[in-house]
Subunit: 385 residues, 4 copies
């Protein structure tokens, strides 16, 4: 791990979080419209709580916590760190005020800067690095949660008029051919990676061809117009229930207005760009689309093997791999061990990164994971034949 510039890096990452929130009104920081979306205020405080709890309280002998109630309010899911607000109640917390949360950030940042000026403890530096990557994960969630909150206001408010997160197009076409054989999977090197990217291990891949481009809006419209959402033969059984119970007939944020497709973006409601890469689809939709094309989704191993041969990083790409531990996965002791391992069930892996991913936060070994019905992330589809 590069420790030389950790202080500079700390301040850059922390500042970026606040930049994401800069266009918000105070009111936008508060609500939690669905359980999986957290209030921006909560993200700001929780990522700060992480440094206070795991670094400052352990490393600074006379550290005085900013506010005794925050451990209860801003612990996300660490059972080892004590009781916490029910996840579904995050939107009911009006106090602390937003300005007090910013004061919290300032307080913790000041103490972190003092600490970082002298810190030599290797284990602490590792935890700080984890804290920064943790904060970058919340930066991405901030973008998608802000989009969800604004996009579910009936008036479709604009976040930034010039913002462009879903209009990007593919730069390549065609398929890459990969030969069968043994490949190595998982993180290697001495930079940072999450525990779930290890242990590095061998897998056997079959021959496959993988698309260099992601599915576009106009390609997906063909699926819609061919009756894809109405043909049960294309869907997983649970996907078919999901479509019917929720009356799904298009990707998230799509609205048909006077016969024309629009979508909500962070720049407001706009006409759909047909050439842009498809975004905001669930695993169920990705699977059904692949069925319709008589292709399939790649496994996460195929994706990682082939990732050197195509451009990626615009969409989180659904794979056909369930999120499970790699061979020799080891869970850290204590609260940090709750980071990843306990979620390894009933979700599917996404690979790549998205336009909402923070700079410097992408690796082709990174394993993201969501439930098969979730689609508020910048998700997309890459096909294999």
């Amino acid at each position: 791990m590069k420790t030389t510039n950790i202080r500079e890096r700390y301040n850059l990452v922390r500042k970026y979080t606040e930049q994401i929130c800069q266009p918000l009104e105070t009111e936008d920081y508060v609500p939690q419209p669905v359980p999986f979306v957290s209030p921006p205020k909560w993200h700001l405080a929780h990522s700060t709580w992480f440094f206070e709890t795991f670094i400052l309280k352990n490393q600074v002998s006379d550290y005085k916590v900013f506010d005794e109630t925050f451990n209860y309010l801003f612990n996300s899911y660490y059972n080892n760190v004590g009781d916490r607000v029910l996840r579904t109640d995050r939107g009911n917390i009006t106090r602390p005020k937003v300005s007090y949360v910013y004061a919290y950030r300032k307080y913790v940042d000041e103490h972190m800067n003092i600490l970082l000026a002298t810190l030599g403890d290797e284990k602490a530096l590792t935890l700080i690095e984890l804290g920064l990557h943790h904060e970058q994960q919340h930066q991405e969630l901030l973008v998608t949660d802000i989009k969800y909150i604004l996009g579910h206001n009936p008036t479709f408010p604009v976040y930034e008029p010039d913002h462009n997160l879903v209009d990007d197009e593919n730069s390549e076409t065609g398929f890459v051919q990969i030969n069968e054989g043994i490949y190595e999977i998982g993180y290697q090197g001495d930079g940072f990676c999450f525990d779930n990217e290890q242990g590095r291990h061998k897998v056997y891949a079959q021959n496959f061809e993988i698309s260099k481009s992601l599915v576009t809006n106009e390609e997906f419209i063909e699926f819609i117009e061919a009756g894809g959402y109405q043909d049960f033969n294309l869907w997983l059984d649970e996907g078919w229930s999901w479509v019917n119970e929720n009356q799904i007939d298009s990707p998230m944020y799509w609205h048909k207005i006077n016969g024309e497709w629009h979508y909500f973006t962070l720049a407001g409601l706009k006409k759909l760009n047909p050439k842009a890469i498809l975004c905001h689809v669930s695993y169920f939709e990705a699977w059904a689309y692949a069925q319709w094309k008589e292709m399939r989704l790649p496994t996460e191993f195929e994706w990682e093997i082939a990732s050197y041969h195509f451009a990626w990083g615009k969409r989180w790409e659904w794979t056909n791999s369930a999120y499970l531990a790699y061979p020799n996965f080891t869970k850290a002791k204590g609260a940090v061990g709750e980071y990843n391992g306990k979620f390894m069930i009933n979700t599917m892996v996404l690979r790549g990164a998205s336009v909402a991913t923070s700079p410097d936060h992408s690796r082709n070994t990174y394993r993201n994971f969501f439930h098969t019905n979730e689609r508020w992330q910048y998700t997309g589809i890459r096909l294999v034949k």
Copy 2:
């Protein structure tokens, strides 16, 4: 109806709404922690929308609505006035901002003041009077919804340090004896009343004795300590389910801390005053308490007949009458007809008024109504034997 000072009265009532919200932080205006509690921002806008929709749009020929989206956002339940936001989604609306809602109030108030300077139309004046009483109803809801929002913040924030809404004590004791016979019920006079207070009609009352005082906290603690919440024989069948499913063991806002009863008030968390009048109980609790005392709740007719003989106005008092239409009740045509009549089912009547009721908004013929499990209003218990 007194029309002379309607303009002055309009401005007083409207100003009082904003005074109630004065101690709030911007964040407090946003959430809807449970469906029956509305965000303060919503109350501010909805009561304004009422004047814009039912008065200005009809009376001012060139009136330009403040914002076209507000009819969708701030219609409460008037099907005749078009589609609206789902009641459960009120807490997800971050825009308009609070300041824009205040601008809306200012805009409508200016137009109303111009109109009121010259208005002679009797029907319009009746609607304005309804609008003011409507706003006063929302003032009371504002107080109770603010209390709910703050009281469900884990940190129990203070609304006003000197606020005292639940510490009042009874000024009288003993029982009043009422003789059986025919009595007249319902509003009479030429002031304002709601449609549900009419038609005035005769009822036959039996002999009864009604308490001049309301049940106090220390009296209710006796019930708790006698195991009242654990004895199924004291409860209605649905009440017993409610107690068990929600693990109810005390009135709302009560907290036992280190063996001592406290309650959340608008002045913050405080030690319970044993002499104060009991507050925040459901109909189920009122009924069970009466069973335990081997007495009963009064009917709304008994209450109205006896109301001349005791002090009232601190608590909304649960009666043993279901909320149903009086003989000759008539529903107005159109949207205003949706005001009361369509809610006349599966609720019980409360009589009196409470410390949260706005000045000038009490009548002994006023009929409030809530579901049997609701207790976030300032509700209390008066017994009959």
Copy 3:
């Protein structure tokens, strides 16, 4: 109470229960398709358990209970008598077999006959009388629950080919005029009545006119064809939610087949008789229909006062009175006190009796009660103007 022929009466009532079940197949005795419908097997056993628990165990010193598990299995809602199977789990009890339940009936009947040959205890005779009326209530529920079970089999099985329970027509027309004044309400006499029919007390009635006939199928079809189920102005707010959430567009058991109305009857699926009295409507539908006719439902007091002037007994008739205690209602001590009083909330009163009511089980003071959305009883509509 007539005690002379109690033994004969006991045997008649008990036998009639079994006659109702005679057309059933063993399989029909088992299911509980919705929580409010109980398996026929359960009714047979529960009504027997009532005699065993409240009579034989107390009156016969060396009585040996038939099966120790039955108190747990067949107690309905008497908390005072111990734990019991969850109401929603009645349909999962496959054992005891149906034949064993009949053996239980035989065993209890034999012991009851021995007891009745010599019994002089007045209190016991009162309880036996209650047990017989209780069994008659379950006879009516047996008819309606059997109809529900068969009517929700996709194949619409026939109970009895010649059975006719919904084809009866009105014998009278026109309205009866009742003058305002004081009337006495509640049971008077020395026959049996339930506790909820007392105390007898005075009420003041206004002038009203009540229909001598009940609403017919063809009259209700007019409401349907006029768009009654689509017009929110006709419905209570909770009724409108009920209609929309359950996609209600006709009375229960009605099916439109090839453009023609049919209904499921105990004689199977048949063409609707337009002249027959309407059946199987909820309170919400009754209320909406009355709104549409610009009339209203009678209160239970109006119904009782006027009941001497029209034919009744074909349908349970919805009234506009909530089910609440009469003045001086007294609850018996112990388990029998749970019979009626604890249900006096959030239901509406029905008056009269229906074609499913057992012979000898009707009184014009009888108060039935159901939730406002329930309609599997033989319910109907009588209007007041």
Copy 4:
């Protein structure tokens, strides 16, 4: 495929289904206590419907279906074959009677025997073979569903007094060491296999050691007594919610009576045999137990590779593999294509077979799959270190 004795085999399999039901009372055939358990009557009819629909209707030109309503009643999940009864409503179907379902079986069997005497069509024979394996799958479900139905009767009825399905013990101890390398996975040969066992393909396995014995009751009691159900660090996040929401503290069918563990078996309620192999645990419990032992569950590939080296077939064994398609998995066209593929999501693979599995229905390539909270099958735990 061996076609020589298909007729004999057909009759053996069909007869065995009826033998499983032989100890049942008519009442036991009816209920569906939870959606995942089907009424025995339904299994009897559905497995017959499979032959009628996919064989007789296609192969016998003048075949007359036994009852036109059965396609609606007894189709399980084949969207391609038309509408069907909602899965959750199977327990409400009282007709056809049980005896009529047996008549249905007889009728179809007679026609199948005539057909099988002359049939040469290869595709039809393949479908008949599928139908027999399908029926064997339902035989296993019959055993587990019967156990669920009887075991959820409060009286714990006995299926067969001498039945012994959970008392078997391990015959081996110790661990098998497997070396890393390439292995072939999936069915090979010319017997029957399901589509999900193919295509056969290479995988790369790491070094691992796998237990030759399954976890026993007494071993699992150690976990319970060590507080395993109360220690969140041992559980997956969803598993921890499952434990708490359902108040799980032991395997299914376990009852602590007077301080001693008992379990419900098909021979009735019995004292737990501590030496017997643990049964009826969910994936969540298997995972937590492995955590506690600081070992893990095998992947399905590890299991298949090692399966030649230990005894298996008593318990379905949870693996740490999600149920997903093998490389080159191909879905058949039409209704038969709905057999397996559409369920490949959000379940985990079980390998082996159980004491409830029908004779001749086991393969070490067989892939069973259930949700992570399901445990009414005869499931067990094998560990890897």
